[in-house]
Symmetry: C2
Subunit: 304 residues, 2 copies
């Protein structure tokens, strides 16, 4: 089934204990659509970039089957830019610089040929913009996955609270879940957040894996213990892209199938952190993905 | 098969955000033997207490089938005492007071009727004492599980390095694994530590689950996401007791069976934290344990 992703396409400059990059391609929607491209060929993007965004990077997305009809190019504008520096343990980072640029006036337009999308990924951006996307779709998609972050919980909670009842699933990290619910216990936090609207909730715990909640059901998928985490940038988006890409491919939103989707998403994220930026996830093969998923089966499987 | 546990039997005084206790029964060997009692009836204890230790607490252990022939009572001595206070997130604690008392001169003696033990649990205490236990056993047990802590890595590393090649499995937490290996990556830390001697390594991550390493194999068991963690004291020991108790019961030390043992250990630990001290693990039924293990099956199981 067709997937529509709305979110940022950006330049990132990254520094980790292993080195630093110049401006490279980044942004939530970049990671999401690249990751999802391994699962679905109907992979539609709505985003905005400036005239400084290289055509070669748009071609890179197109080469992965991403439909860029919805990628607005503001010729006299500059592309959203983020630079960050990771601490030694890779679990925390500082934002060094943010230039919103064209994202400041992002007004998402849905091309007609995207209107039939069945799966919608609202990548992390202002909840008001995410709301606009839902309003501009003629039919509600079968499944809407929402990502957000601490910033919006902090400064746009009212907008977020309007949005939450309209989505099927929310994906946030543990810190954000505690912030949004006001509860330290993730089990209780999950109940509180699901009561705000989404029937299903994913809580990402980085190197500690991810939890999937729905009603009283809970599923846990570990993160693969890696020898080296090179750069965690985009791991959460790559995870989300693999998750919803797998759901779109299988067109099955049962809890059982979401478990598998969580494993595929985790497998994609485990590739993402192995190299800088999108470097690892632009060159994957289906065999590599299947082999990685089998590592998860081995890691988590037991017989009692 | 018979299990021998050597370690502390103590008084604890605990303070958590939920309340505080007077002196209650604690100590690594207490939690280990109580937890193992649900798996094996040949449950032998070597420890030392003072004349102040109540007979009722020894009877409590005996009522759980623990053989206390090896429990030395120093009539004019005082029992090891520890008091600690947990922070709000329950993941860190401060030691308020430690009185070594009779533990200072603990000289473990192995009763003759313990000499046939096949499974040996060296609960957390000075590595020199743990070494003595191995020397005083006429035959090497089939399986030796060692627990240690940051204190010994810090002040008794040489003793620990002598001990490590003599044990089959080491159980430590993530912080200790990083400390002992000098490596942040747990995957690499595991290799480094296994090269120090133990063929198998368990790295406990508290609320984030536990990893089991052997050669190139790795297995991950999640912790059960609980609504409330009441008191984490003894969770690691209860985990170890369930793990080695299950191995002793099944008399199977294959990697596959160790996976199951890890799940049973995790299930026992999930009970432990639900109440203060040993309160929850002294009153369990087999049905409760089996139901809890099924929760882990549900939590971690997926089909791909």
């Amino acid at each position: 089934m067709s997937l529509l992703t709305v979110g940022s396409v950006a330049f990132d400059a990254l520094e980790t204990p292993f080195g630093k990059t110049e401006k490279i391609i980044g942004g939530a929607a970049t990671y999401i659509t690249l990751s999802a491209s391994y699962f679905t060929s109907k992979n539609n993007l709505v985003a905005v970039v400036g005239g400084d965004f290289p055509a070669s990077m748009i071609e890179l997305l197109q080469d992965h089957g991403v439909n860029t009809d919805g990628l607005e190019i503001v010729q006299d504008g500059k592309t959203f830019f983020w630079s960050g520096k990771y601490h030694n343990d890779m679990n925390s980072r500082d934002t060094v610089e943010v230039q919103l640029n064209v994202m400041e006036n992002f007004n998402p337009q849905i091309p007609d040929n995207y209107q039939d999308c069945q799966f919608l990924m609202l990548g992390n951006t202002a909840p008001a913009i995410q709301n606009l996307v839902l309003e501009r779709l003629h039919n509600r998609p079968k499944f809407v996955l929402l990502d957000t972050m601490n910033l919006w919980i902090d400064i746009a909670l009212a907008d977020l609270q309007v949005l939450l009842p309209k989505v099927d699933c929310l994906t946030i990290n543990d810190e954000e879940a505690r912030m949004l619910s006001g509860d330290y216990s993730l089990r209780r936090a999950a109940k509180t957040i699901m009561a705000m609207g989404p029937k299903t909730l994913i809580i990402k715990k980085g190197e500690h894996g991810a939890l999937l909640f729905q009603g009283d059901d809970v599923f846990f998928c570990p993160a693969l213990p890696l020898e080296e985490v090179f750069d965690p940038t985009g791991a959460g988006d790559t995870f989300a892209g693999g998750f919803i890409g797998y759901l779109a491919k299988t067109n099955d939103i049962s809890f059982e199938n979401m478990k598998s989707a969580l494993v595929y998403g985790s497998a994609m994220a485990s590739f993402c952190v192995e190299k800088f930026g999108t470097e690892r996830i632009v060159n994957l093969t289906q065999d590599e993905i299947n082999a990685r998923v089998q590592e998860f089966v081995k890691l988590a499987g037991f017989q009692i």
